[in-house]
Structures are given as structure tokens and as C-alpha cells.
Symmetry: C2
Subunit: 225 residues, 2 copies
Amino acid sequence: MKTKILLVEDDSNLGFVIKDNLTQNGFDVYLCEDGEMAWQNFQHNHFDIAIFDIMLPKLDGFTLAEKVRLANKEIPIIFLTAKSMKEDKIKGFQLGADDYIVKPFNMEELVFRIKVFIKRTAKEPSADLFQIGSYQFNYLNLELRHEISSKRLTQKEANLLKLLCHRKNKMVKREDLLKQVWGSNDYFAGRSMDVYISKLRKYLIHDNSIEIINYHGIGFMLSLK
Amino acid sequence: MKTKILLVEDDSNLGFVIKDNLTQNGFDVYLCEDGEMAWQNFQHNHFDIAIFDIMLPKLDGFTLAEKVRLANKEIPIIFLTAKSMKEDKIKGFQLGADDYIVKPFNMEELVFRIKVFIKRTAKEPSADLFQIGSYQFNYLNLELRHEISSKRLTQKEANLLKLLCHRKNKMVKREDLLKQVWGSNDYFAGRSMDVYISKLRKYLIHDNSIEIINYHGIGFMLSLK
DNA sequence: AATGATTTGTTAAATAACTTAACAAATTCT
DNA sequence: AGAATTTGTTAAGTTATTTAACAAATCATT
């Protein structure tokens, strides 16, 4: 699965150069030309890394970063700053940013920094204990507890639930779930997943603030009210 | 599964200190007091990392390292050298060594270097294509080919075979196989594994230079004549 | 070397995991 | 509104894995 990058750069020439370069480095790049568009995109898709220019039409990079950070505490954000901007001003704004890089920069440096983040997030073993409403889900021993009762999940059930938990209250694309849990995205894998979704719903029935919502033709969301 | 370290240090006080320290850091340490003993130990057990003092009774660290390197091209070897030894002399001997550390050293440094090796070997994805006699075994797509025919293995079968391949012509302990493939080491897992060994033998029957040899009460070895 | 205990080899039966089929219901498209 | 597609659900079918059963081999003890 390729690393998905949300790139926001209003200078379309520069934007294309960066996008092209990152694509050649094996990343999946989504280029937006203003902050508003990026925010829309961010809300509807999953990204692994965000790269924001600071001077942007409609919604500047800092404000965008704040919104993004509020919605997602994990995603690494890298700023592209003009040379003219003073370092202390940048630092002052470094609320949610993880790194920044001064224009003009060479692509190798950007790629290097992106890889640092990928390595970092790959290393931090993703949590294996989840609270889902009044349920507790332990991925390691495949246990889904609720008050006194406890259900032992199968590996596939657990894999699927884990992915949904990992992005809870966010829609996860069918395609992504299938690729990651089934390894393939075809008709039969899809039907198999629907069966599993149905099973998970049954297991989670005792807490009615929990829902697995279907987005017709797009994906599923584990929703916690 | 803990990282297994073969530590050879003739000064028993220093040896115990190092062993104790590494054990506290979560490693499984086997301390030998001379090179001969270490070599015996190495031949009969599996280790992930070797740490050799250079000045040793019976068999010095360098000679030991050469023998070890001949038998195992992968295992990281770290030398402990006396301060008095000149760097160029060490370099001259650096045939099989991966790193060396000058006495007296602080434990944090040694632990750091060990961790570097663990990370490195963990990253290099262990090969997924194996030649077993006239068979070809592709772990990724679970395929075991022989001339024209091809058998698709199950995940467990492939996991077990991969471990045996990975240490081919070396005995692998029952315990290790069970821990790594079944995750637990109890009576039933053991019997299950015996069933799988039996299956693998059947699949590999067309090349009679291949054997899966049992070492009664100890483990199995995939032997290629 | 004979005895009994333990471990292993092998086949078959039982169980569990996962997929596919079938049909109803919901959603989207025209 | 009607057709096409997607999803929800149950059940049947298939495959993977475990457990049982018994024979054979190995080991420990006498």
C-alpha cells in the first residue's frame, strides 16, 4: 500500500514538479491548489502525510494545519515556507507542524524528510487495545469484551475490526479494507467482507451507540455516538 | 521471541556484569568463558548476535569469528577489544566482524549497537524464495514447485517450511518452531506440528536428497544432501 | 536385553475458519 | 417508477487446522 500524501501548493508549476517527483518516488500524491479544497479533500479521504504551503488562497497553511491537527492528532504535517519568513515566526506557528522546509529546496531533502516520518510511524507499533463504546477490543489475543462476557474473534474478524477502530468515526474505503485485510479487491472478497461486517455488527450489538455505517458504494465507518 | 546472544568473555567478573546487564535489557544471553566452549555452543544452538572478546583461552576471538563466519554468513559479530590494541591492527582483522567496541565501554553503548543490528536484520526482509533441492519454494504466494508440478501450501505449512529453510541443515528446536509458528508451546500445538511435518515430508518426497530429520525430543532439521 | 514411559509418524475424524450462494432489502441511476 | 447495483443476512459449501487414535521408534531403567 502506497503512502498517501496530501500536497497543497498554489503555484501550479511548483505543485506539479513536486507531485511528479514524489510520484516517481513511489508515493500517492493528491495535489490541491488552495486550502479550502485541501480541507474538503482531507475530510473525505485518508492521508498518511500532509505537505502544506503556508501562503495559500482562501485558507492559509497554518489555519489548515490547525483544523487538520484537531481532526487527526497523528498525521505528520510538513510546511513549505518562503525563504523570507523568519525562523522565529515559524516556530511561533509550530503548533501542529512536525517539520518545515524552506523554499527553494531540493526534492531529495523533502523525500528524505517524508521517509523519516514513514519510518517513525511504521516503528511505533500501532495500538493493539481499543475502547469501542462499552466494549474493549484486544487485538493481540483477539478478544472482544463487554462487561462480563467475552467473545473470541477470528483473525480476519479482528483484522477488519482493527482497521475500522484505527480510523474510528472516519469512513474507510471498501478498497482499502479489502486490500489490507483480504489482499485483493474482487467481487468475492467484497462479498466475504460484507459477511464479516455483518458478523461484527452482531458482536457489537450490546452497545447501541456503536454503529458500522455503510456508505453506499464507497466504504464503511465505525461510528461512536 | 527474545534475541539470543552468544557472549564470550574469559574474565568471569566482567562476563557476569555484561550478561546481567544485557539480560535486564531483554536479551537471552549465553555466556562462555573460552573460545572452544563457544564454538561447541554455536554449533548446537541458534544465536542472533555474537559478542567475542579477542583475548581468549584455547581459541582466540578472531579465529572463532572466522569459523563462525564460515558456518553463518549472516550473524552479526561484535568484538570487545582492549584499549591497547591499535586501530589498524583491528581493521586488519576485520574480516568477519561487523563492529567492535573498545574496553572499558559503558553498557548503553553496547546495547545501542546490538539494537542497531537487530533493527538492520529485522528490516532486511528475509528472503521469500528458497531452493530446496530440486524444489523451488516461494513463500509469498505459498507455492512449492517441482519440475512441472506445483503445490499450493497453506499459510501454516508455508510458515513452518520457511523457518526450516531459513536454517537449512541446522537443527531447529521444537520449542522455537512452536513459538514462532503456533505462538504457543503446549501438547496440542506440538501434535499439530507433527502432523504438519508429516505433510511437508509428503510434499517433498520427489527429491530423495531432501529429508526432514527428527532429533528425538529436541527438534527437526531440513537436511539437503 | 526386556520393560515401560515418552516421543514421533501417520491417517482419519472433528472442529473451526473462511468463502460462496442465495435471496431480500436498500440505494442509486435513468 | 422501474431497472441496475450494492448491501445485509443466513445458510451451505469448502478449506484449514486441530484433535484423536493407534502404530512405530526412541529412551530410560532395570
